[in-house]
Symmetry: D2
């Protein structure tokens, strides 16, 4: 993650500002405002702005004239109740705006979360930087033999090295050719006066999806938690999971009570289906239940036993 001097200076100015406001403010969260948190090799997440705090959730749930109660224990109990009973609307009352730098293939997963606002860096308007994501050797893995859309065994060092060389060489070649086709100096004049440059919106099509893009992303806390529940869990691709985990950590600073309730009731725990619940009820009554008489398919049975920590 490299920032230019002028970007660093801009961020420096922002973090040293001090305005007066009547709005709910979270001092611990203000501490990290604007600061880039590194993710992957060149990516980052920065909090640009936020609205509301734990007490804003309480305030909205009660449609009150003032803020949430001063008694944290009551707020905590109410927030837990709301989360447990899927009263999701009060969580929509907090909003966050992030600046994210991420590879295009990660952006393509991310954008599927529709209840959010996005302003992305435009490759029609501007020239993309020469920055690509290359996995670390320990993250280079073979196709999983169990999971059709996941990773299995890690590659050997020699194999990983070979993959790394390929990714690096192809990215470099594609970017060199991007620059050649653009034929454009930083001031917009042509590098080679004897030929035209290709329009940016066309030249960019030569770039691989490992190249970094950037965007402003704004969403509310309910939808952020939904994003995290899908992207911080084990089925998500490792690269977007890294972003999700950094954001989850930010939430712990921003809205500690809501995040605790979210981790307790959504991220952790498990869902029992009708038949799965029946299995558990019977087991708790002392009955020996087998897959055959559970009515469950193999896949679901295995997932249930794993969740219950029952070894067969």
């Amino acid at each position: 993650m490299e920032l230019t001097e002028s970007q660093k200076q801009e961020i420096e100015e922002l973090t040293s500002a001090a305005y007066t406001t009547k709005r709910p403010t979270v001092p611990a969260f203000e501490e990290i405002l604007y600061k880039p948190f590194p993710v992957l090799d060149h990516g980052f997440v920065r909090v640009i702005d936020y609205m509301g705090d734990d007490s804003a959730i309480v305030q909205a749930a009660r449609v009150s004239y003032g803020r949430g109660t001063k008694q944290t224990s009551q707020d905590k109990g109410l927030i837990n109740y709301l989360m447990r009973h899927r009263h999701t609307s009060p969580f929509e009352m907090c909003e966050i705006k992030l600046h994210v730098k991420l590879p295009i293939f990660v952006a393509r997963h991310w954008v599927r979360h529709r209840t959010a606002s996005i302003n992305e860096y435009s490759a029609r308007y501007s020239i993309l930087d020469r920055e690509f994501y290359f996995p670390k050797f320990e993250d280079m893995a073979a196709q999983s033999t169990q999971n059709h859309q996941g990773r299995g065994e890690t590659l050997s060092m020699a194999e990983a090295e070979k993959v790394f060389e390929i990714l690096k060489a192809d990215a470099a070649k594609c970017y060199d050719d991007y620059e050649y086709m653009l034929n454009e100096n930083p001031d917009g004049t042509r590098k080679d006066e004897n030929r035209k440059g290709l329009a940016r919106e066309l030249a960019r099509m030569n770039l691989p999806v490992s190249i970094y893009t950037q965007w402003y992303w704004k969403t509310d806390l309910h939808n952020l938690f939904h994003f995290l529940s899908l992207r911080a869990e084990s089925h998500a691709q490792k690269e977007i999971r890294d972003y999700a985990n950094v954001i989850l950590d930010m939430c712990r600073k921003w809205v500690p009570l809501a995040t605790e309730a979210f981790e307790q009731h959504c991220l952790g725990g498990t869902h029992l289906s009708r038949k799965g619940l029946d299995v558990v009820q019977r087991m708790l009554k002392g009955e020996k239940v087998t897959r055959e008489d559970s009515g469950l398919m193999k896949g679901e049975w295995n997932e249930l036993m794993a969740a219950l920590e029952i070894e067969e």
Copy 2:
């Protein structure tokens, strides 16, 4: 608009708070934070929180690391360009949260704007106050003879008085019976020990749609402008228009450049259809155009002539 002493005190506390923040802050808007602005006879709008300012729009449009430029003239030009060319996403980067007290029939229009978050006072959980909307005499009007869904001529004083008496009496009777059916003291005990009270979720069904409810409503600036473009215009029912106009005024304080661009390009002005544009082009070339050779239906022709201020 009556607030209880404890509500007034809560608001007083909120408006006298002063926190330190690094977030973009709009001093002129902070001035009106939390204060109830009266609408209709008992309603109000209060700004509870906001996120972003004019420069946040510029920042997102440029996906920059810092804030918008310090040069207001450049920001203004860019914001105008974005509005004119329907680049709406940067306007989604500002967010506002309002506390609104409004009659149920107004709430039923309002809620149709789906890209917003709402927490409404629950009549299943709580008891509604005895507050109803009664139009002023000058707002009591007959059905329009031109517009199937609007008002025409104002009622005579005697007619208006009669309507007022009816609305008042029916509201009072319905509320008296609501209280009777609830049979509930403020502390939850029964008024009349010899009979049960009806559940709140059932008793409330006796109340007319003129009764006031309250909610927290949160939306982004793009969707707020869309709301205003539909609800501040002449086809909207007068009662919701009153709310829209109060909110429009708030926007002028919050995001003056964006609001000016919105009034210039969306609220004001007019849309010309393909044929309407053809009529204007021909007229500007000096041609005399009649409805017959315009290809327009009567309704559209009349609207066009009115927009162009051409009297026939």
Copy 3:
């Protein structure tokens, strides 16, 4: 539920139509198309149109060129997998359009489901019918003493009768006055030539929220299931639950595999929080767990024991 003769005839014509189409068609569902299914005293739900079937879910999940496999067992397994793992997007590929007649207070709950399209009968444009919802005696209940937003004990016959008389009388008075204020014959002329009528948009404000309205409501299967998961469950008000159950029944005819998976994995079963799962794991290992050492609050502990069918 009363339909006019002309409405009955229109429905008759629709149900006897037979067009030829290449689109996926569900014969069992075609049988009930357009037919009003009664809900409450005057309400109904009618299926107006639908798009897709179980195999459309499979087709989208596979992004295939043809329809889902002919082998129902494979489709069933895939649909179950998708539901269990929250791969919700393929369920969005089926769409349904309903015509619903419902009391305004039910409509106010319903409209909170935002990912749906609505066209409601306009009381600004048209005159509402004299139809109100009055609960059956067995549905008249006192406020719950446990649940702040629900019903408890049923009223005595005498109490219920009294409530019924009040609701009926107030509704009749409000509607009589609505008609008086409108002063309008069916052909739009005045009843009493000596006074103006009040505009419809104003007169309607005298009507209680028990009056019936109607709308066209269109949503996709994923969002319909979400609606049902919140509105067919025990915390929802009984009146909207009645609608939800009628619609759930329709789904069983329309998309039997998806509905079975939904009932299995979402409607039925239960969610275990992180601590709740820990309790179950410990119990299954033979440990005796008490609320005190579970780390759970009283409310959550009670809900967990109830779900596990453990009596204390």
Copy 4:
């Protein structure tokens, strides 16, 4: 656009099906159902399913029990009125599902339209085909000197040829290496037994954004028109415009009255700002207006003069 034999056969089967339905059916649209319409060099659009027709719009606007009137002239007038006055909700009552094959960089524009459902071919789960978009020579253009995000002058034949060679070679190299890294036969076994293959979700990151992907895309008519109004117009990138124009043509077959109204009132015509309208009003009164006394900025003035076909 190449389809495999088995895909062709699947499509053949679908187009020769004939089911009986009571649902609104558009015979002219049924004709093109399932058939791939080519776009760009390898892309296509296929209609997979639809719901509703012109009369469904009328039916919803009137919340009627039957279909729209049989008199087309009345339906047409109403649809025009709805479009002109932005009564958009009835247009949401029609729904369409498309199967689209498109380059990733086009998909990245497309997905920004959030009110739609998508199921995309997964490059985590499956292997992408060796199909890339290469612009035709006449579409290879230099960066526009006026428009920061568009194309200007066409490249010379020699320059275009050179660009084509680069794009082709880089795509081939990246795909060869993708296959090498995957090390996977069609049956999932390894090509080279002596090394592991890289997981699909990682290998795909080497592919340029010109590669084709596929998805099912489902949206309602209102949102489809919004998509077309932004993507069929001159500021959109040529490649997505090609898709928009094919879809617009499909709409003409599906909902001819609504599409005509859309072309008349939204696609064609122009919006006049408050000041722009003032300029037109003054000109129509015979006044000579210059940019200086119009109050308009240069850019807006030029756009206005162009729209009015006034040469300066």
